[in-house]
Symmetry: D2
Subunit: 427 residues, 4 copies
């Protein structure tokens, strides 16, 4: 019966959709409904979601409070689409973001709506940095991922993605991320030498762009001390610091911004994915006021006024009016870490290395193809997980932040079973 | 009373939002609600919308049928955000787009979801064209507008926007659009000469990208005959033809695709803005099957699975199951044209030149600053209109396609009054 | 006997030299000696030189006065190679160039030694223009030829040469040269429109670079009036004008600079080829003093102090102390023109079109492959001639300026015979 | 008396020559004559030449054997300028280069004449590598110097020179040279990691270009073992290896090619400077035969047939028919090294670090401005020396290879006096 329902629909995607589609190949079913951390497919099968829309669903699927707000707004014929005209929904978001996020953290940023996706935000950040400094080069990191439009792709490390550009990607220079050459090589010094050497071949960049935890690049965590030193290096060389917090932000690592514990204040911050709360497209770019030299309309985009997202986003900010969610993430993050550490220890033949921060964690397997296999089996057993890293060597654990203890443990146990099964096969 | 409500909110945008904001400066109020072609602001004032979200609201604000579908979907916990996993909402859209749009027109395209904005679609189209042909250059037209991310911006003509890039924009070459040097210069011949001359300095491009009616560039209409000859030129020189139908598509010029009456079949088509039906972010890229050589995930984006948009988009396609909307647009388009022609005739000192097709029309004023002034006064009198063109010389008329006769006439009469007032001042 | 001497040497080139060699394929012999306009090969055969080292031998081969000066200089152990140190030979050249060339023409230029080839001079000119104006783009012309290093190649029109770059060539934009679309299309207006249109996709360039007569591009002559209007266009738009006089300068078109009769004063002038007098590598870049903002050593090159060339170059300038050479070129130029006009008239099936100025003339054949054939036969009959143009459609006549009447007529008669032979075959 | 002669001439350069001139500022006199390692100025003062035309005068000024050949050739009306036509002088050079240089070393190269300067050779090498591999990127090293035209400048490390380009320099990526991070960091491993990492942001390059001893970059010596490992890295990753031997070649480090003792065979070798023997402009590019896929004329240049240089170059090769010059350089190199080591030891407050190989040596001073000062005083005392390095921190010793013991010791003693004087001032 299940087959009958399922198969025909899958074939529609094969027939009509471009070959570029990818996740539907990893998760070969048709999803229909979702609630918090649970997905359901057309055959009625339930899945635990350890993927969370690649970080766009930090508050869970169909968050009930946001849903209510959205339906009210729609019923009341609230503005849906407004370009960058002023609307009450946007005002509401702006006020709340200022009050709940910026002010309590002592942050002073102007808020830009650059178009509703992460890559729109990164493109706007790079444009502004270049405009402010009058320099072309942006310094980026090994394993960085910043988006697929040409400007963002130029600062993205992945060769497969880069080759898709069809043109040489320029005006970027890549330097080693924290621990790229192992813990003993201080990559801040490597970068400083390149910048200070008058004959290194590298121009002083307009900005350094980084993720504090590299998501797509393999859950690579930058130490807070390293972030602080990068921030100092930027300041002392008159270079802007852009933090791309598209995936690691909005509480994914515990605090709202992923850089809070490092005690740094980036010049520009890119937010998207979960900023819209409900999985609706939205992005903002935060700009230190003295850098806000945009001329009106110098960057724009049709969907920069997605008011449905503003409504959900404003509601989502309520989660940050107190420490509850933060504490929840911290606690669950420790649960995940402990669990993964034990797993790695228990199955040494998988050469597992545990990485991550908060609910952005992963286990890098030293055996080729293993992470993919684990995720494939996990899907069959009702757990949605994805891989990351240059060679897809990392199995990623990124449930909604709102997942409860029961769901988390259930998901982890499925993972444990998958790893056990794979480990046996290795012997 | 109105002031009290209004002022505080406006100041919030000035305080918190980046200087890049633009439309909120042209329309200095806070909008709260909207229905079909009517907008309402915080003070209760009503406006007729001749702007339609820059073409993203072809089916009007808060279209009731779509609203109902959306609320049902939400109430039922339908998937909101799915990356490019298969969902029932997406299946529904794909099937309907195939049945209602592609099949009846004899078109064979694979459908790509490149991320939810026009510039995402253009970036994907350019990437694919370059990949297929193994060439870097894209040929674009004077006054073209294709988007703000670096790849799209490189094929956009506007100097102000281009200078915002902060880096030299490359791999594009600009050639004159239809009638650029007046009706007597055959720009297809100009382009052919450049392509065929072994010493013109111009490489054979991977693709030519064009809008059949240039929206932002000043409502410049390409003749169907010109489009046909460009298509032939592409075919005979092994160049792909990309039609960016982001603004002119989805019925804006009458037919669903703006190029239907030209009888051409582009190799790649970019759709966004009104494809989502309800003003929700969505874009698709149509690809002739033999060109669909993408590898899985070679282009991606977090919000390429905006299922709310899919739900509304599927419903929006119902408008194309018969000729009603098409006939409505044709008729109203003629009304607008007649009206503008008379207006231009009546006030010769404004040196008005009428342009456009369907409900994408405009009047270019030969007096500097006049279009801006007309739109400013229109706003005061309750009509939302925007300018277009390299020097903002065109006042644009782009109401929702669903506007009724009463609304259209009311709006046009306001416009007439504004023009009259401005004309007097000129004397 | 001749074969025995000849063959072994030719095979050495085939064995040891790269496939990139070209002229040795058109003229398959080994040359040994030369005097004024006569070349002699290893077999003792004499050739009349209508090629003159592509314009590097305006004063003939082994000019006796220069030879004497060179031998004296060498015997006296004069400095041969000096980088950009001050030497007496360089002082001599500078003084004489100022007195004989600049002062009498009322020209005020600083003289730069950019390295000893035309492309070095063009590279230095483009660098300086970009530095002065702070803009990247250089505007160049269809059929332009400026050199083979990457900077110069980017402003060269020829597709075959451009594709050799192996990278996309950038920061240049090509516009139509005088008469590119026929005499009736005013290409200055075409360029002005592109520059003034805020949405043409073309940035305001740092400079426009041009040849007054395009040599490699097909002996395309710019009218003086056109040059004047281009100069005005540059001035009014704050764009620098660079004249690449590498081939057309040093008297090739009659006057020392090719632009003198147009009455314009370029901002930067590139000279090479015959500036060294004796065929020795040398180039200079002339810079209006207020533009000379180079920092010491910002552009350099090992052979920018080729003192042997300075010695010959200073002697060569003696030719410009009176009008003798100028009158000689004018007269001989008219002889050539008359001769070619008659030739074209006499053999209408060759569809000959006569072009050029001074002793830089050519005949473009409307029959494919004909120019190549004519030159091939000419070689067999003892006349060295080369083709030019995007499709090698032009047979070029560029003898040393010092050729005497007898030599000129003898060469032209050989050419006439070749044309006659080819014409017969066509019937 | 000396002043009277000197001053007027110097002012001519200031008046007429561009501000770009540099060496004439370091050596403020007018040179007139030279013989082997001695230079003489207009006032009759003699200088010992420890600069040798930046490596272009390895066989000394006005080498008598070459002079004789040149005068004979000129007296006999030998061809001076031939583009790439076959001449007997060129044949002579080709044959001798093959017999004396290539064959005895077991090297199989096709010889290209790319234009008469080092940067012409590098441009041709980069073009060919890109063409062969179909890739844009060239990998280059920190402190590399390859020339001033745009292609070569893009692989040159020096910021001051790079900024002169006026456009962003592209398609190059810089990696650390041997010992860049000190002896303990293995930079071959650093490069291998970047190449092998699928997410490093760095494309596989068409070629790696390097100098075995970086001249302008500060006399940085690559260990032979390092060169071998770079060559292996290239081979295993399908990357071409280009050795730019413009300055270090032609015996400067002892052997004819600087890479001989490393036992590597580069895919492409660039030679210029001393290849012409007499200081006359000349360059060649050596290409492994299977890479010689040039089409005729795909790269060209007016002065690629400088026959005077061929005549001297052929004669210069006689030096390599036996080991005499090699032994002479080895012995004198050791003399210099010993001398410098003692000097560094004797004046520890100058923090001298001795570097180099053969007669390409230098002493890097750890005190800012010191190298410049030493060279300035040396000039006053009759010794021509230049600085090198990113901060001009190295005083370079590069006399003609043909310098005799007396001259070498005399020069070194002047240097010792200068260092002594400077050392005193430091205390």
């Amino acid at each position: 019966m299940r087959e009958l329902l399922d198969k025909p629909n899958i074939s529609i995607f094969e027939e009509l959709e471009s070959e570029v589609r990818s996740y539907c190949r990893s998760f070969p079913t048709v999803f229909t409904q979702a609630e918090n951390y649970k997905l359901r497919d057309v055959a009625g099968k339930e899945y635990i979601d350890f993927f969370a829309g690649a970080g766009a669903l930090n508050y869970g699927h169909n968050n009930p409070k946001m849903k209510e707000k959205l339906i009210d707004y729609m019923m009341n014929n609230g503005i849906t689409h407004s370009l960058d005209m002023a609307t009450s929904a946007k005002a509401e978001f702006l006020k709340k973001f200022n009050q709940v996020i910026l002010k309590p953290r002592g942050l002073d940023y102007k808020i830009m709506f650059p178009g509703p996706t992460g890559t729109n935000s990164v493109e706007s950040a790079l444009k502004l940095a270049r405009k402010v400094k009058g320099r072309e080069t942006i310094m980026s990191f090994t394993n960085a991922f910043h988006g697929m439009s040409l400007g963002s792709l130029a600062v993205t490390g992945n060769k497969f993605k880069r080759e898709g550009a069809g043109v040489p990607l320029q005006h970027s220079v890549f330097v080693p991320f924290d621990k790229y050459y192992g813990e003993e090589v201080d990559t801040v010094e490597v970068i400083a030498k390149i910048l200070d050497d008058q004959s290194s071949g590298v121009s002083i960049p307009a900005a350094i762009i980084l993720e504090t935890v590299q998501g797509e690049g393999g859950i690579n965590v930058a130490r807070y001390e390293w972030l602080r030193r990068i921030a100092e290096l930027c300041k002392s060389r008159d270079i802007l610091l852009i933090v791309d917090d598209v995936q690691a932000g909005c509480g994914r690592t515990g605090t709202f911004f992923s850089f809070e514990k490092a005690g740094i204040v980036p010049d520009i911050v890119c937010l998207s994915k979960s900023i819209g709360g409900y999985g609706l497209p939205m992005a903002i770019t935060l700009i230190r006021p003295y850098l806000d030299i945009w001329k009106p309309g110098e960057h724009n985009g049709t969907f920069r006024g997605n008011n449905m997202a503003f409504v959900a986003a404003a509601e989502a900010l309520s989660y940050w009016e107190n420490d509850e969610l933060y504490n929840h993430v911290e606690k669950n993050g420790q649960t995940v870490r402990l669990f993964l550490d034990k797993l790695a220890e228990k199955y040494p033949n998988m050469k597992g290395q545990v990485r991550g921060r908060g609910l952005m964690q992963g286990i890098a397997f030293g055996v080729e193809g293993l992470a993919d296999k684990v995720c494939r089996i996990a899907f069959e057993r009702g757990l949605i997980m994805e891989t990351a890293g240059a060679d897809n060597e990392v199995a990623k654990i990124m449930p909604p932040l709102t997942i409860d203890h029961e769901g988390l443990v259930k998901g982890l146990n499925i993972l444990a079973d998958c790893v056990k099964a794979c480990s046996k096969e290795l012997n």
